[in-house]
Amino acid sequence: MSGVSMRSSFQKKLMGAFLAVGVIPLLVCVLLILNLFRLTLVGSANSIAEDQLSTMTAGFGELLTACGEVLEDLGGQRQVAAALESREGRDTRIYNALYDTAAPLLRDADFSLYDEAGRLLYTTGSGNVGEALSVNWGLLAAAAERGGVVCRAVSPYDAQPRGRMQLARAVYGGGRVVGYGVAELGDAHFARLLGGKYTADSDVLVLDPFWDQVYATPGIQDESLPQRLRACLLEGGSLSEVEADKNYHILRQEESGFVVVLRQSQPLAAWVTRLFYLAAAVSLLLCLALCLWVSVRFSRQIVRPIRSLNNAMAAVEEGELDVRVEVPGTDEISQLSGRFNRMTQRLKANLEDSIRQQQELGDAQIRMMQAQLNPHFLYNTLDTIKWMGKINQVPEVATISADLADILRRSISGDEFVELREETELLERYVEIQRIRFPGKFEYEARIPAELSDVLVPKLMLQPLVENAIIHGFEDGSHGHIQVAALQRGEELILTVQDDGCGMSQESLERFHSHREPKSGRHYGLYNVDAILRLHYGAEHGITFLPPAGGKGTCIRVILPVSRREEGKEA
């Protein structure tokens, strides 16, 4: 994995996490708050509007009922019927009766009396006597036909419309219609009826049962509004399509079928909503930017040490062990860096060790090969000397060189252990050479039982002990006797080398027992044999000095476990 992709994936994960934690709760909160706010506002505005609307509709219904009662009252008065029948419009008694009857509603509606032909005779409002309403069309026709109180919107197609809305009741005299009592509601009456019952930001529209306009408060300038509401009603559309930023509340006055519409500005104007959403969007964007920034910073903080660690590991992979990582702090990644440093350090040390060992091994091999070179040359030389001795009839030279060659051959053979027989043969050779060197100086005797001749002993173990006896035991020029003996006791082989020479000095013995290296040139053979024995058989199997028989000379004893060459196995 490359550093860049690791970083980007890290960053992506971090960014996702930060966004999830930072933006989503904010978004949810903002939406919840906005909508709760809007719902609350709309809810309260709705309840206010419903209250106003029901108040207005109830007031409207009461007014219509009251007007109807006045008209019924007028229709029941005999003098009124008589006056209408006479078609006279100047009778003050009738005016008195009209005003008396209409007294409680004089400011709420105009009341008029029409004769049977539809001509205006008396009115509490303005209007000229002689104005006419059609009697076979519209309001008066309906009043005559139905008998009770009829209410209608005033048709906009009328030549001389009187008011906005009219209620009419036929007046009967002698079993036939003699005239009509009519109540008229004009703009002023509606303004008085509705005034103070709706808030300043709303408007009221009064529609007839077929949704044609009766009255609109001055705030409604749009004359096509009732038509659009009617179209909306008939087509089953939504009221919000009529006007975008307005709410409509509609209530029908059941008795008359007239409809009161309250138009209310939306409690939360469109621009306010937009502002809210804008603010929400801006804060979301800020939050988003913050999340991005923090995630980038954070991922960088984490990724940078990991990347340098990663790079360092790559360098180690390439074999560069000197690489070290900066440890910036104490956090987990810093600890990791520290461990990495220690690991490479150890790795390097190990590598150096193994290189050194390798070098040493190589050196040893070279030395061994060199050492193998020399003996062959020596052999040949010794062989040449032997033959030269024979040719020149110097038998001692021939014997010595033959013996030496034999010793050399045995000593450089690869075996570490040899049979006791071979060891004694080698000892014979050595002794023969020393006899020629020091004629008559010592006598040598080997007492090795035949059954022990095949017991394995370390190679060249006895020769140094005998050499020690010849060189050091008789250095004072005296004549002596050397005896090598072997015997088996239990599972142990006991070898003794005894001489009757001058013996070892007290100092040499102490030095030997303390396993210190001997002084140069002295008792090296003993020391080596002791070391070999200890190495092969353990510390207790070293050389032991025994008091010599006859109190003179040196007696060395070596105890070994009895072991023989296994059948079929070459040593």
Binding site: I24, L27, L31, N136, A141, Y157, F210, L233, L234, S238
Partner: protein, 337 residues
Amino acid sequence: MKGRVWALFCCLAVLLSACGSSPDPVMEALAPAEEERLVVYTSHKEEVYGPIVKEFEERTGIWVEVVTGGTNELLERISGERQEPRCDVMFGGGVESLQMYEDCFEPYTGSGAALLKPGLRPEGDRWTPFSSLPVVLIYNTRLVSSEEVTSWADLLDSRWRGRIAFADPAVSGSSYTAAITMLLCLSGDLWENLAAFEENLDGRILEDSGDVVTAVDTGSCSIGVTLEETALKRQSQGANIAIVYPEEGTSTLPDGTALVLGARHGDNAKAFLEFVQGADVQALVVSDFARRSVRSDVADRDSLPAVKGIDYDAHWASGIKEEFLSRWEAGRGEGGA
């Protein structure tokens, strides 16, 4: 994982925003039932259909949805909607126009059919006549004296050459009716008379039938041919025109009301037909619209003279329209050249 989070989030957002809008149960409760409705296509002006529709609603409790437009436009729509009619009643349109779309309509014989004036009841009752519209001559009262224009024959008099206001019969249905009426009233060969008349127009042909009265009123033309209703209306608004009922007589072609074939609100449509043909509406036609009633029991205005009607075969008239128009166009080319 991320996808799931997003989906959850979207659901939440939709849920939250959906809380705001709600349907209009109030409107649904107030809307009239299907059997209380009627759809009327009308080519009448609002001052004509308005009071009639309103009174119909008040008397019957039926909600009338009015769609307005030109006669041909609306008839085309009705023809186009034949598979699934939206319109119940075609209110307005000359009988010649209705004739051309007669297979879109269902015959209906109203209760007042027997009371119709003679000659106005259509064959098979495919529509119901609404008002009678005589074709009349008009003249500018300042430029022309009453005895100078009395008959259709005066239109061929060369002294009016280039001073006759006449709308293009290729465009205006009423102008075509007027031209045929003139040709029927004149003695002699039909097409020769047409050529003579066209020559007398001297290439001066008005685009719109409404322009005729204006042209005569302003004096740019001395005499003109138009419908009595239009002339009366403009006269009452103070135009300087007088009306002449030609000596030879004139056509009194009505406009009509027709029940659309397969109408969804058939019963309401029949009620509407009954209503517009009824005495009350016919009285209104006379009193308020300067028209003549189609009913024999509703008297026309006292001020209007009796019209000497001619036998006008609408079927025949629409049959020769194609030939008429080709000859008209030909003659027009010559006149213009």
